[in-house]
Symmetry: C2
Subunit: 238 residues, 2 copies
């Protein structure tokens, strides 16, 4: 893509226009993110965005088709940022399964505490009247990807009386297989869902203020929780 001077003027009209468009989109999304913290996703308003960035209320429709589409783009952006975060943390951490898993969980919680409203947008109560389109699924799975294939994630197999549980977790096993990881036993998939639930539950209870009055500092308790999960799910043997 080397341009000779004859090919185009130093600033081609297309490029300049595109730059302006990109900048406008950036401003819209940034303003919407700010609004998210103010009034929450359910009361996001396109007009408030236009007021915020100083354009006419109708101007925004050149960039965003509707309020719902704006929400979708916010979700994509948030999942993208959180996905980047956990990926970078995974790369920076030691490769053993125990460290990888604890890094993932602490990164998730740290990010949730630092961006509670963004977290709520994707993992909080669903927004009534809004249904996330299919396009949000892939970015969502990326957040969990770093721990999907961790070896040794299971302290024990499911018992013969837990066949129904094992069967119900087949889809997750299929996802793991499709991601080019070692096949996961029912004990593994069950352990993953359990650990996932425990982490999300702790984070959401903490964000909701439900620990106030029952817990002094939350960091050490979460840390102990992770240590137990690592031990109980056999991750420390790797």
């Amino acid at each position: 893509m080397i341009k000779t001077p004859a090919d185009s003027p130093p600033e081609s009209p297309t490029t300049a226009r595109q730059l302006a468009r990109d900048e406008m989109e950036r401003r819209i999304l940034a303003s919407a993110r700010r609004q998210l913290a103010d009034v929450g996703p359910a009361r996001l308003s396109l007009r408030a965005v236009t007021r915020d960035i100083g354009v006419a209320s109708s101007a925004v429709y050149r960039y965003v088709a509707s309020r719902d589409e704006l929400i979708t783009r916010l979700i994509l952006q948030v999942f993208g940022e959180l996905g980047d975060e956990v990926e970078q943390a995974a790369e920076a951490a030691a490769p053993d399964a125990a460290t990888q898993w604890r890094t993932w969980a602490t990164t998730l919680r740290r990010w949730a505490l630092d961006h509670p409203f963004d977290w709520a947008l994707v993992y909080g109560t669903p927004i009534p009247g809004y249904t996330a389109p299919q396009a949000t699924i892939d970015p969502a799975t990326r957040v969990n990807a770093p721990v999907l294939g961790l070896p040794g994630f299971a302290a024990e197999d499911l018992g013969p009386d837990e066949a129904e549980t094992a069967a119900s977790l087949q889809p997750l096993a299929e996802i793991i297989r499709a991601s080019d990881h070692e096949p996961a036993s029912p004990g593994t998939t069950f352990a993953m869902m359990t650990a996932w639930s425990a982490v999300h539950g702790f984070i959401n209870l903490e964000l909701g203020g439900h620990f106030v009055g029952a817990m002094e500092k939350t960091d050490p308790v979460f840390d102990t929780l992770l240590r137990r999960l690592v031990r109980d799910f056999g991750l420390e043997r790797t």
Copy 2:
């Protein structure tokens, strides 16, 4: 409080007025509950309530001081219903710790799945701009009360390197002590918080649709989760 005929007419004016008032309050709260499912707590509207029950928009202010107060009364109502539910379930169940705890957790989840919007009001993402008053604390603790004093709730003690975790859980131990239960060790309070997190995490991930595509049936998985918690936290020995 026996009334002779001379004391008051068959229907005293006070009583009739009070009955009408009660009925009106009932209608307001019922309509608001319906709205909760439609638009969510963030967009609850007093005007919509008045439209719904067929009175002038200003009439509602004789019964509710403000939108925030209506939300507070909804929260109190929801905690009340959920508290009744878990209490009744606890009474109907066998008294051993394992059964009591599993009953509590399954009742919680069943209620959440049956009343997802009511559940979200009290355990979902906080409503931006609204802060729950102190009066909501007691009804909230009643929901957890049935499992506060369960004996044997701890598989193991916290280690000496987990002193900070133990210290952080002191407030919970104090709550338990104040409720006339056996003193709870740090291992017990930690186990309680862990179990609580796991249950809430599962419920909220399920309600958020985050299990779709990864889990077929959720009931057996939750059941297995509870069995493991009971075993790991030493509840089955009682």
